[in-house]
């Protein structure tokens, strides 16, 4: 397998036509892909291309777009708030994505074990992510991280006082958003949990009989079997983190405040497009993000053939 990888194409999809009598399966593929192809043409591709066109225009939503060439892209370089949003987003990605994966995996392992009331526990751990972007979340987060909030009340019990607001302090506000989004780790956990159920028990039992420790069983059997889903979670976690919007939007009331400390990239994009009515600039920002994410995704896929093991290539 390792020898073969060197000649494999960059995107790790099954390409060897071992099945199906050595030829492509065009007709069945077309049949299975019809809904997606129609949707792509009807609902997805047009709007994407239109936004690409808009990125070369000045467009205020209320009048017709006006061609300005590369101006929007050029303006980004000298826009201090653009760079601020890049900084906030990168910090967030680097801190949040690994934390989310580790926490989700740990809880998923815990909830995959033999335990009573498992269904109840799973539902309860999943509960916070159900709140989603509810308008109630902003109020709840102030109750927890406000100057008179829960965190400070607990700190007060152990004698730490006058801590001040967490959501209102620019040095700490991003931390509260990270906590908020981490709080909703449920969906990542569910995918891990579903993956854990896919690992054949016979393998684990055989290893146990051979005397392999729990930790060893996890790293040499469970984790490798799950790599397609680990890959999915890490990649989607990264893409979503780059596009993180809702938490900061709800908590800061859309401003990215205090003083731009939670000004995520997409939050700034949204403000530019819908509040300042500069949809051309917002579209340009979106396409820059698409390019960056395309590179990131490309790297992920390229690396995946060294560590992701699919059931269809064994």
């Amino acid at each position: 397998m390792t020898l073969a990888t060197a000649t494999e194409p960059p995107v790790a999809l099954p390409t060897t036509p071992r099945r199906g009598r050595g030829r492509t399966q065009l007709l069945p593929a077309l049949a299975f892909l019809t809904p997606w192809l129609v949707g792509m043409v009807l609902f997805t591709f047009g709007p994407m291309l239109y936004s690409l066109y808009l990125s070369f225009t000045r467009y205020d939503l209320l009048s017709n777009p006006e061609w300005v060439g590369l101006q929007n892209y050029a303006l980004m370089g000298s826009d201090p708030r653009f760079w601020k949003s890049v900084g906030v987003t990168l910090t967030y990605v680097v801190v949040f994505v690994p934390l989310l994966q580790v926490v989700s995996m740990l809880v998923a392992l815990l909830l995959n074990s033999r335990l009573r009331f498992l269904t109840g526990y799973r539902a309860l751990f999943y509960l916070p992510s159900l709140m989603g972007a509810s308008v109630a979340v902003a109020a709840l987060w102030r109750q927890v991280f406000g100057a008179d909030g829960l965190v400070n009340a607990v700190l007060g019990l152990v004698g730490i006082e006058n801590v001040g607001s967490w959501v209102g302090d620019p040095a700490r506000a991003l931390g509260t958003i990270i906590t908020l989004n981490l709080w909703a780790f449920g969906s990542t956990m569910i995918i891990f949990l579903a993956g854990l159920r896919q690992v054949p028990r016979e393998l684990l039992e055989a290893a146990e009989v051979d005397g392999a420790s729990k930790i060893r069983r996890f790293f040499s059997i469970t984790l490798p079997m799950m790599t397609p889903l680990v890959f999915f979670n890490v990649l989607m976690g990264t893409i979503n983190a780059f596009q993180s919007f809702t938490g900061a939007y709800v908590v800061s009331g859309g401003s990215g405040g205090p003083v731009d400390s939670t000004l995520f990239y997409t939050l700034y994009l949204y403000e530019r497009g819908f509040t300042q009515l500069q949809m051309g600039y917002a579209s340009a920002m979106a396409w820059v993000l698409l390019l960056v994410l395309a590179v990131v995704t490309g790297i992920f896929f390229r690396s995946s053939r060294y560590w992701v093991h699919y059931g269809d290539e064994s």
Binding site: A31, L42, S165, G168, A173, P258
Partner: protein
């Protein structure tokens, strides 16, 4: 799932997409057809406004009365919270599918005037389709765009005011504020109160980040906030002077610290004044009643509206007008005009609306709501009396240029707080504010 079928589907899909995008490309501005609003009242109109459930209920009550008067009209309603309302409005505007009757405020009307999204209403007023005879001319001017034409008929007026928790003020030994005062008196009033206020309570809001307080300060000195070109009409020095005043108050612990101010929830009924943690707040005068209601739940004292400090040029309390206009893409102008006329002038309907979005502009309605037999709560009536006093004092009008709503407000708060949090110097923040706003205004 056979091949011919998928081909047909694809062909159909391509066709639909083609049609959709070509017709989009052909969407044309089309200069707003000027109409005098005369014609048959009937058919369907859509009415859109911002607000939560209590305003929705009151607005729906008015619409019911309108439909009783005009049974041949079908009225479709759209409402959402302020920020969401404008988001949706802009998306609808992008495909020229705005509701016929849209609610506007003088703070952003020029964004829509500039792009010809609204119809001028002057001819409708001239023809009598919309009656404005009961609205004081200075108040009606709130509905004018920067081209001088009338784009919405103000029905409710908010006004900038200070709000004082007199119970806290008594405790602090400074008593109720005087009938009128200047900025020095105001500063010493809150400074004196500071030491005797309970822990966790502040004498005054963080006024440096409040654009409304800045207008009051500037207008009182005779400064025009926006000049005729729609750019900033004040100087960097003037802004520095204003911000320094508040930075000092914050530094001395008199004004609310910036982190607490940043986490203050939106809405007058949720703010620190309403929770009893603030002695003097900077709020629209028409939020006295809702703030007091929250305060009562906490036994937090009694609120009283106060006048902004006067400057050498006089009064600083500014009026903010809200009202209904008609979108350019509306195809039922006579009915829309009839609706606006009804909403603004029908005394019964407006009494039912109970001044929910500012003081009524129609003087008959104002009289009815403040009359002895009015069912309004006393505090709500006090609000309206304060409005009457201010509106009779010939308050100045701020002409908000296009781009104001998008940039000014946020940039003002953010750049002030950059200094308050010690992340920028005062000079840097003022420069940054001027750069940001002048690039987007006009």
């Amino acid at each position: 799932m056979t091949k011919p079928r998928s081909r047909r589907l694809l062909a159909g899909a391509a066709l639909v997409l083609g049609v959709a995008l070509t017709s989009t490309a052909c969407l044309n501005q089309g200069p707003a057809a000027s109409s005098d609003g005369q014609g048959e009242v009937g058919g369907t109109i859509q009415v859109a406004w911002w607000g939560g459930e209590s305003r929705n209920a009151k607005t729906n009550a008015v619409i019911e009365q309108f439909n009783e008067d005009f049974p041949e009209v079908t009225t479709e309603t759209q409402s959402a919270d302020y920020a969401q309302y404008f988001n949706r409005l802009n998306v609808q505007a992008s495909s020229r599918s705005l509701p016929c009757v849209v609610q506007m405020q003088d703070r952003q009307v020029n964004d829509y005037v500039k792009r010809q999204t609204l119809q001028p209403l002057d001819d409708m007023v001239a023809s009598g389709a919309i009656d404005t005879s009961k609205i004081p001319p200075a108040v009606l001017d709130g509905g004018r765009g920067s081209d001088g034409k009338l784009y919405f008929i103000p029905y409710g007026i908010a006004w900038d005011a200070l709000m004082v928790n007199t119970t806290l003020a008594e405790e602090a030994g400074v008593g109720a504020p005087p009938e009128s005062w200047d900025w020095d008196q105001f500063v010493s009033y809150v400074s004196q109160a500071k030491d005797r206020l309970p822990d966790g309570t502040y004498a005054v809001a963080a006024g440096g980040e409040e654009q409304n307080a800045f207008y009051a300060w500037a207008v009182g000195q005779g400064i025009e906030v926006f000049n005729a070109e729609g750019q900033l009409g004040f100087t960097k020095e003037q802004l520095k002077e204003y911000w320094s005043l508040w930075l000092d108050l914050q530094e001395q612990g008199i004004a609310l610290p910036p982190d607490m101010s940043a986490e203050e929830p939106p809405g007058a009924d949720q703010g620190y004044l309403a929770t009893g943690q603030l002695m003097v707040g900077v709020l629209p005068g028409n939020s006295l009643y809702v703030s007091q209601q929250t305060l009562d739940g906490r036994d937090g004292g009694q609120l009283q509206a106060a006048r902004y400090p006067d400057g050498p040029a006089g009064i600083g309390n500014i009026l903010v007008a809200s009202g209904f206009g008609i979108s350019s893409n509306c195809d039922n102008v006579p009915t829309s005009a009839a609706f606006i006329d009804f909403f603004t002038n029908d005394v019964d309907a407006q009494v039912a609306f109970a001044a929910d979005n500012g003081a009524p502009t129609n003087t008959d309605v104002l009289d009815a709501l403040t009359a002895e037999d009015s069912e309004l709560p006393d505090l709500k009536r006090d609000e309206l009396e304060q409005y009457r006093a201010i509106s009779e004092d010939n308050p100045p009008k701020v002409n908000y240029p296009p781009g104001f709503n998008a940039v000014f407000q946020q940039a003002f708060t953010r750049n002030y707080n950059e200094v308050a949090f010690g992340r920028l110097t005062l000079d840097q923040a003022v420069d940054s504010f001027f750069n940001e706003t002048n690039a987007s205004l006009g």
